[in-house]
């Protein structure tokens, strides 16, 4: 096998590490994409009986965005099994206690409810901000594009960019803006 073919063979059969930035993203929509990478359905060599899944590292899960009033009305139910053990936690409270939970649970519920789910979840690595341990970051070799464009804030523009930005017209110099 030529070296080019060998590289291509290795690249198709290897397990890749992908990075996903969850800033301002909808956890449920992004979970649909991430589940594809975890299960290996993004690869044409996929088969249900063999394991073609990749590892996914998600950063900035603290900056997730839920739709509408979901922060207030999305309830996470948990029962300890003992009497009076039911608890109803709204999403904002859950996020405050554990900034990883909402993204993790969204992916967990979307995976197929079979024995492969736990294995695929073990390949998911979530971090609330961009602090990723170097041993994890050194493996990452590709990025999953964000679903929703993150707009740039006015304060994030530099002075030079604001000055050089094309203008149709401007206020006269002695005009007082109220």
């Amino acid at each position: 096998m030529s070296s080019a073919r060998r590289v291509q063979q290795w690249a198709t059969m290897t397990r890749k590490w992908h990075l996903y930035d969850a800033t301002w993203q909808d956890p449920y929509k992004s979970a649909e994409v991430i589940v594809k990478y975890l299960t290996g359905r993004n690869k044409p060599i996929y088969a249900a009986s063999n394991d073609t899944g990749d590892q996914v590292v998600i950063i900035n899960t603290r900056d997730i965005a839920l739709r509408g009033d979901d922060w207030k009305y999305n309830i996470y139910f948990h029962h300890t099994g003992y009497a009076k053990g039911a608890s109803y936690t709204p999403a904002w409270e859950m996020h405050k206690k554990n900034p990883i939970y909402i993204m993790k649970y969204a992916i967990y519920t979307l995976l197929d409810k079979d024995l492969r789910r736990r294995r695929d979840m073990a390949r998911l690595h979530l971090f609330p901000d961009s602090n990723v341990p170097p041993e994890v970051m050194s493996n990452v070799s590709s990025q999953i594009p964000q679903l929703r464009r993150v707009p740039k804030r006015l304060t994030e523009f530099s002075e030079e960019e604001i000055r050089n930005y094309p203008k149709l017209f401007d206020y006269p110099k002695n005009y007082i803006i109220r």
């Binding site: 993004n42 690869k43 044409p44 060599i45 996929y46 249900a48």
Partner: protein, 106 residues
Amino acid sequence: MVFTCTVLCARRDFDKYWKRRRIFQLSAHFEGRKRNCYSVAVRYVHRAFAYTTNSRKLKKKAVRRRWIDRIHAGAAEFGSTYEALITGLGRCHISLNHQTLSNLAV
């Protein structure tokens, strides 16, 4: 009655041996008593027969499902979907079957 030598009527068990052997050959890979005890094994061997006949149809479905998954992944590499690709090929009168398409994807 006392017989001093083996009599022809003992040959009555001859077919039973071969009949059971046919079942035990098929149950050789089962677990426990299903492997070695005839009255247990015969039931499970008959179930295995039923599974095999059913699976001939299921296998075709499973293989086609695998082709579809692979075509979908191959189309996604180019930013498309399985549905878009298949309808597009149909409109262009390109009659490639799913097996060929999945082989091309791989």
